[in-house]
Each structure stands twice: as C-alpha cells, then as structure tokens.
C-alpha cells in the first residue's frame, strides 16, 4: 500500500486556491454544462428552433455567414469601431483621470459633471449623435465613446487616488517636485490598476457595439444581429452574440497577459 505524502489541497477551503489543471477542468465543465443544457433543450423537440436553435444550426449559420456573407468584413469593421471608440476614450480619460485623482480643483471641476453624465443611457444619445456627428463611422465610434469614457475617467481617477499617501510623502521628503511625484510615483504606482480598468472598460466597449451599430450601419457583427432579428433568424442571432462574446473574451485575455508581462513584481512571491 502506498501513502500519498503530498497533501491534496482542499477543494472547499474558504478563499482557497486550486491546482491549475483542476481550475481549467472545472472551468471547461462550466462551459460544457451550458452547451449540454442548450443542446438537450433544443434537440428534444420540445422547443421550436425559432425560439432556440440547435448548436449545429448555429454553427451552420456561422459557416454560411463566412462563405456566403461577409463574416470577416463584419468582424473587421466591428473590431475597428470598438477599438477606435475605446482608444479615443482611453487617450482622453488617461491624462484627465490622473489629474482628477491628483488635484482637487480638477476633481471639483470634472467629477460631479462626470457622475451626472455617466448615468445617461448611451442608447438615448443616438438621435443626438446622428444630428451632431452624422451617420458614418464617426457616429458609431461616438456611441462607444459615450458608453465608456465617463466610467473610465472616474475609475482611473479612483485608481490614482488609491496610491498610498506614504509613497507620495516619501518622495516629497526625498526632494521630488510635483511633476516628479506624478511621473515617478503616482503613474508607476497606479499603472497596474489602470490597466485593469482599461481591461474592464474594453469589455463594456464590446457590449456597446450593438447599440453603436443601431446607427445607420450596414455592416458589422452588431448590425448582423440586428438584421437577423428582423428576419427572425435566431440561429444567426446566436452566432453573432457568441462571436461578440468570444472577441470580448480574447481581448480580456490579451489584457491579462499584458498585465503579467508589464508588472512582473505583482506576480512574484
């Protein structure tokens, strides 16, 4: 009889951690479970495929989209819109957020205003955006911008405010001036949190895609979903939604990878 000398990590410890392999095994189970439930529910014949298409139907629809339609073109234009809207937000929210989180007058000027605007539904801005920006690419990018910028600004300001005062004061007693404190202490200290904020808001940018493509679009993943809705092509709606989800997941993983690469000190113990 052999005795296992390495104690197994308990699965149900409070705030416990899992072995990497077990983690991925369970994660895959979660995905497969949903897939299985979907398959069973849709193939049993109990539900009309118009309400719930079967997984092969959805796959087939994606295949047709790729062959007969312009799936790659739709993907390209949607990625372009999401990335452009997100980058525009980030380019403006980054410096402004750092200033709001650092200087009280800038905070007083922008924070209440931003708090107010961020509760306004991005979709409700569509008519205004069409009036102001027109109906071409700028309008779609503007909607994604409106959906992400204000949240991003507040979150980056909060990331900056969470830099420990001791780190700033230590620099002050070492002779750092204001610019040096911002560039050499606050920025590097807040960077990991800011990258996380960008990751989360990038996810929101993807969720605004369908809203953005409500604006006089004739291409894109969101537009395809909307068009499929008009013709009750539920299989294509499924395909479009799942594709958007997959792209969101992929960008999320890229951000996580960049986080590990850029901030190695956070991952060393």
């Amino acid at each position: 009889m052999t005795v296992n000398l390495i104690p197994r990590r308990p699965l149900w410890a409070i705030r416990g951690s899992l072995d990497r392999r077990i983690h991925w095994l369970i994660a895959c189970c979660g995905l497969l479970l949903v897939l299985l439930a979907w398959w069973l529910a849709s193939t049993g014949g109990a539900v009309d495929p118009v309400f719930l298409p079967t997984p092969p139907l959805v796959l087939n629809s994606a295949w047709e989209w790729l062959h007969d339609g312009d799936l790659l073109g739709d993907i390209a234009i949607s990625v372009y819109r999401v990335v452009a809207g997100f980058l525009l937000s980030a380019v403006l929210a980054l410096p402004l957020g750092v200033l709001v989180g650092t200087y009280a007058p800038v905070k007083a000027l922008f924070e209440p205003l931003t708090d107010f605007i961020r509760y306004m539904p991005a979709a409700a801005f569509i008519p205004l955006v069409m009036l102001w920006v027109g109906i071409d690419e700028g309008a779609k990018i503007a909607i994604i911008f409106i959906g992400t910028f204000f949240q991003m600004l507040l979150m980056i300001a909060e990331d900056v405010r969470r830099v420990p005062m001791e780190q700033i004061e230590a620099a002050q007693t070492m002779g750092a001036d204001r610019d040096e404190i911002v560039m050499r202490v606050i920025m590097p200290s807040a960077k990991p949190a800011i990258l996380d904020t960008l990751r989360v808001t990038m996810g929101w940018a993807w969720t605004y895609l369908v809203v953005a493509e409500l604006v006089a679009a004739n291409s894109g993943l969101g537009f395809a979903v909307l068009k499929a809705q008009r013709f009750l092509q539920t299989d294509k709606i499924f395909a479009g939604i799942i594709l958007i989800g997959l792209f969101g997941l992929a960008t999320d993983q890229c951000f996580r990878w960049a986080h590990r690469r850029s901030f190695p000190w956070l991952y060393r113990r």
Partner: protein, 279 residues
C-alpha cells in the same frame, strides 16, 4: 548644549472637524541637538505624529515655528528624510532601485559630476551591505518580510545623507524579535552617520532604549507633558533593559501616559462582575 539643529517654538496645530475646532498640538517647545536621538511617546491623540509631520514639512503648522539650523522650514526638504510605518516602498522597483530612487530626482541630478555618481554608487552599495540586504538587492519589496522592507525604507531615507531622520512608528508592525534587531541596527546607523533622529512610537521600552531623551506628550489638547533624559550610556545593549534605572524610567513614563490617556480601569465594576459571575 551645542546650538540646536531643530528648534520648535510655540508650535500649534488646529483643524476643524464636524464644525468643532480641534487643537491637535498646543504650544510645543523643543530643542534638539545635532546627533541627538529623541523619541516621542504618548497616548493616542497626543499630537506626536502631527509634530513629526510638521517637522517633516508634510503638514503646515497653525502657529509657531520649526527651524532647522535657525532657518524656518517651508515644506519638505532633503535635509529631513522620513520613514513611515508601511506602504512607503515602491513595489515596482527592486531593493537597489528603491534605495537609489532619490538619484532619479532633479535636486540630486543637477549637481552630478562623475565622482558624485561614483560616490553615490558606493554609498548605495554600502547601505545595502550595512542593512544586510545584499542577498535581496534585486528582489521586489513584496518578496520581503516586514522587517526587511523597513530596512530598505531606512536605507532609502539615508541615501541622500539627510541630517535629520524622522521616523513615524517605523517598527510598529514588526514582531518583537525583529524589532530588537532593528533597534540595534538603527542605533548603530545613527551613530555612524551622525544623524539626528526624531522617532515617534507608542512603545515605551522602545522609546527609552533608543533615545537620549524621551518626550512624553499628552492629549486634549496635544502638548508636551515632560521631557526625560535617559540615564544610559550612548552604546546600548539589550541587557540595559533590566537595569533599575531603565525600569524606573519606564514605570514613570507609563504612569504619565496612563494619567493622561483618560482611559482608566473601573476596578469597582470589575469587582462587582467578579462577585456575580455570568451563568
């Protein structure tokens, strides 16, 4: 006494909280000689940290003055380095990079000649070795224990050769054994560097062991209640904590803190509870 390096005169700090005017520090007077090690103790709310932070230039005073070498201070300066209890190290920099952080700043860079750079590198090396950090020089702060992190913080503060070292409960989060090691280390360094040290703590034993003089502060309003000269020779060792002089001073200061803390044990109530033990 030689002319003081730090002169604190009629120092006051008030602030408004919930509409009430709170006096955090009232009429504090203190002279500190060059090379002197002075500790500040007292019940919470006595203004000891406030006093230290004003000397560091991190908080403005409401009245009175602090002068260093006769010059009134206006804000933080490289002659006064500060060591905090925690969270002050830069987690994205290695131990060596943390220690040499001040070299990246303009105030230190403007005057850099080649020999300055060489002497700075030599000093960084010496500090790393002195603080026993050689084997972790390339590690990041979060890979170190609390005691090691505070060694880095002290080395970083000393890097620019400050004349005054301000320490705000720097060992408050360390365990007792590590703290004793750190006591002997900081004493050694302060004598070696001839640094004047102003040190805030709530640990009376620590206050006596380290200091030439212990300043006892009291709350409501925060003020200096007494200044005790420690009857021990400059070269300290742990056995001195058992000497009658040390123990007597410790008792005296502890009694002073108890008197002023406003927290008293209600013996009468304790006795009554004892007579009616809970079922």
């Amino acid at each position: 006494m030689t002319s003081p390096i730090i002169q604190i005169r009629q120092l006051q700090k008030r602030f408004a909280a919930n509409g009430a005017d709170i006096v955090a520090l009232q009429d504090a007077d203190l002279d500190i000689a060059p090379g002197e090690f002075v500790t500040l103790v007292g019940a919470s709310g006595c203004g000891k940290s406030t006093l230290l932070r004003i000397v560091g230039g991190l908080e403005p005073a409401s009245g009175g003055s602090v002068s260093v070498d006769g010059v009134p201070i206006a804000g933080p300066g490289i002659d006064r380095a500060m060591v905090f209890q925690h969270y002050s190290l830069y987690p994205w920099l290695t131990v060596t990079e943390n220690i040499t952080f001040c070299r990246q700043l303009k105030v230190h860079r403007d005057v850099s000649t080649l020999s300055d750079v060489e002497s700075a590198e030599g000093r960084a090396d010496a500090l790393v070795r002195l603080m026993g950090l050689s084997h972790v020089a390339d590690a990041y702060p979060n890979q170190l224990s609390g005691g090691m992190q505070q060694r880095v913080a002290i080395a970083r503060a000393l890097m620019a050769r400050p004349r005054i070292l301000l320490m705000d409960e720097p060992f408050g989060a360390l365990d007792a054994q590590t703290r004793e090691v750190m006591h002997d280390l900081i004493l050694h360094v302060s004598i070696l560097e001839k640094t004047t040290v102003l040190f805030v703590t709530h640990d009376v034993e620590e206050a006596i062991y380290l200091a030439h003089r212990v300043v006892l502060m009291a709350p409501r309003p925060g003020h200096i209640a007494a200044v005790h000269t420690v009857p021990l020779q400059d070269h300290r060792d742990q056995d001195m904590k058992q000497t009658p002089g040390f123990i007597a001073l410790k008792k005296q200061i502890l009694a002073g803190i108890r008197e002023t803390s406003g927290m008293q044990t209600n013996y009468e109530l304790l006795e009554r509870l004892g007579q009616n033990p809970a079922p």
